[in-house]
């Protein structure tokens, strides 16, 4: 087992060319590199190119090795440098976002009825960018 002190958590954007879309690549990562994954967002384009936003947790060295393995196979790996942030000045705590945020990242704290934003639960679906009535949610590059 890996030393828990070296455990890290990192998000990546993986782009799969169409010949790799139907291969069990993520499964191999788990078996061979002992990393855990959490899929945040997955899309396949009309050209059958796959885009996967994923959070990996495991030993730092294992995660690096896993990503090198993916790149050798032809997967484009980008560390996720985008995030959805809340502009606190614009949020009026109306709660509209709770109705459409699919992951519960935006949720109303009861009974005080303040809207909380838990960035770690955000799956980057981007619905809040257009759904928030005061445009309090912004897309940013880290």
């Amino acid at each position: 087992m890996t030393d828990p002190r070296n455990q890290i958590r990192k998000r990546f954007v993986l782009v799969f060319p169409n010949e790799l879309v139907d291969k069990p690549i993520i499964c191999e990562l788990v078996r061979e590199f002992d990393v855990a994954f959490n899929i945040l967002n997955a899309t396949i384009s009309s050209e059958r190119e796959g885009r996967l936003v994923m959070e990996l947790s495991g030993a730092s060295s294992q995660i690096s090795a896993a990503m090198e393995h993916l790149e050798r196979m032809g997967v484009t790996v980008d560390s996720l440098n985008q995030e959805v942030r809340r502009n606190e000045d614009n949020c009026m705590h109306c709660g509209t976002c709770e109705g459409f945020c699919p992951s519960g990242a935006l949720h109303v704290q009861r009974p005080e009825m303040r809207v909380a934003y838990d960035e770690t639960k955000c799956i980057l679906c981007e619905r809040c960018l257009t759904g928030c009535p005061t445009h309090a949610m912004e897309f940013r590059f880290r």
């Binding site: 109306c94 509209t96 109705g99 009825m113």
Partner: protein
């Protein structure tokens, strides 16, 4: 029921104002009053409390601003007026216009591609003016002997405008629909985004803190009542559009749906941006989210009883915004209490469904607290209404648009 029977504590607005002026008036918010009445009973709460402050904060589309820009040199009869590219109504006197909260920019693509984003409109211009920002002004006209100019363009801000006041034909709906969606598609409504197959419900309103829930029979709220609009001083001007106090009521006199509304007026110069917010409703349009606070004088035990209303006493109809609402078909999917709505889950059709608000209780509480502090500081006196608003007996029920003639 603990209702007033003509006996018990009595006080007048003049007596309350005397206490406010000299210090010592007891002011609590409507949420605090609910707990006080529950803990101590109506007679004791009536003796202890002079004023209850209520508050609401939500999207109120029927809002807008009357603005006077001053006269240019040469003069222009401002027929078409644009503010940051949002049209204001210029069919009134030369230098006046009315900017509606729900007006879109001239270059807005409407609901295309669907759902439209509606990122900027009248409500946003109003927010920017209140925030003290400069706004692009453009006016065109046809030219007359007395108003020869045909075009004017400049920048304006609140401090240059001669008059700038909100005049809102319909605010503070006493009660409102809870929106649901029984169809298989997502619906984009003025009550938010509704998931298919009853995936969620959304609602607007502050429940037990809401102004017209605390004076449901309009005993103290009438024409001329001094209030806070957008954080500044305002007044009740008239009954609001669609005012219909004839709707069915529960045992405490709380209407089971829509009911009373208020037309409000308020000077934009005293307002704060946090209580006056332009909003975009995906797939619907633009609007203004506005904070309003109304003081209720506790003149007798009946008013203590009324202001003791709790979320459990208030129910709202669940309406299907996929079918019944757009087609104007009668019938509700059920009735749910504000206690359940605020808890975040309601029962509809035997199913537990997540409920989320689109109005801000946080901001409603803030403006009710603001009014409480102003009254305590002696900076806000209560008013006797100049005339009452139409009540259940003297109002006429709301009518639909006449059917087209054959």
């Amino acid at each position: 029921m603990g209702r007033a029977d003509g006996k018990g504590m009595q006080r007048t607005i003049a007596e309350i104002n005397d206490k406010i002026t000299h210090g010592g008036a007891v002011v609590v918010t409507a949420e605090e009053m609910t707990r006080l009445v529950r803990d101590k009973g109506v007679p004791q709460a009536a003796r202890e409390v002079d004023v209850v402050t209520t508050g609401t904060f939500g999207m109120m589309c029927s809002s807008g601003a009357f603005l006077n820009f001053g006269h240019g040199r040469p003069r222009i009869k401002m027929q078409r007026v644009l503010l940051n590219n949002v049209p204001a109504y210029g069919g009134i006197a030369a230098a006046d216009a009315y900017l509606g909260a729900a007006e879109l920019r001239v270059d807005d693509s409407g609901n295309q591609p669907f759902p439209g984003e509606f990122r900027y409109g009248g409500g946003h211009v109003i927010e920017e003016l209140v925030a003290g920002r400069k706004v692009r002004f453009e006016a065109t006209s046809y030219g007359t002997d007395c108003y020869p100019s045909k075009h004017a363009a400049t920048w304006v801000s609140l401090k240059e405008l001669n008059q700038a006041y909100l005049f809102n034909p319909r605010n503070c709906y006493q009660n409102y629909n809870v929106a649901a969606n029984t169809s298989r598609q997502t619906k984009y409504t003025y009550l938010g985004i509704l998931k298919p197959r009853l995936g969620n419900v959304s609602y607007s309103g502050a429940g037990e803190l809401s102004p017209l829930m605390n004076d449901p029979m309009l005993r103290t709220i009438g024409i001329g009542t001094r209030i806070l609009v957008g954080g500044g001083v305002g007044y009740v001007a008239w009954e609001g559009t669609q005012h219909d106090p004839t709707v069915a009521r529960g045992e405490r006199g709380i209407p089971l749906g829509g009911a009373a509304t208020l037309a409000l007026i308020g000077d934009m110069r005293g307002m704060r941006r946090e209580y006056v917010r332009g909003v975009s409703m995906l797939g619907y349009g633009v609007s203004l989210a506005l904070g309003v606070a109304v003081p209720i004088p506790i003149l007798d035990e009946d008013l203590a009883f009324r202001t003791g209303v709790s979320d459990a006493d208030i129910t709202a109809p669940v309406i299907d915004y996929a079918e019944a609402y757009p087609a104007r078909k009668p019938g509700a999917l059920g009735h749910v209490s504000f206690a359940d709505l605020k808890r975040g889950e309601v029962m509809v059709d035997g199913r537990a469904i997540p409920a989320s608000p689109i109005s801000s209780l946080v901001m409603a509480r803030a403006i009710a607290e603001l009014l409480k502090e102003r009254i305590r500081a002696g900076a806000f006196l209560l008013t006797q209404p100049v005339a009452p608003l139409p009540g259940p007996e003297d109002a006429r029920p709301m009518q639909p648009l006449p059917e087209p003639e054959p």
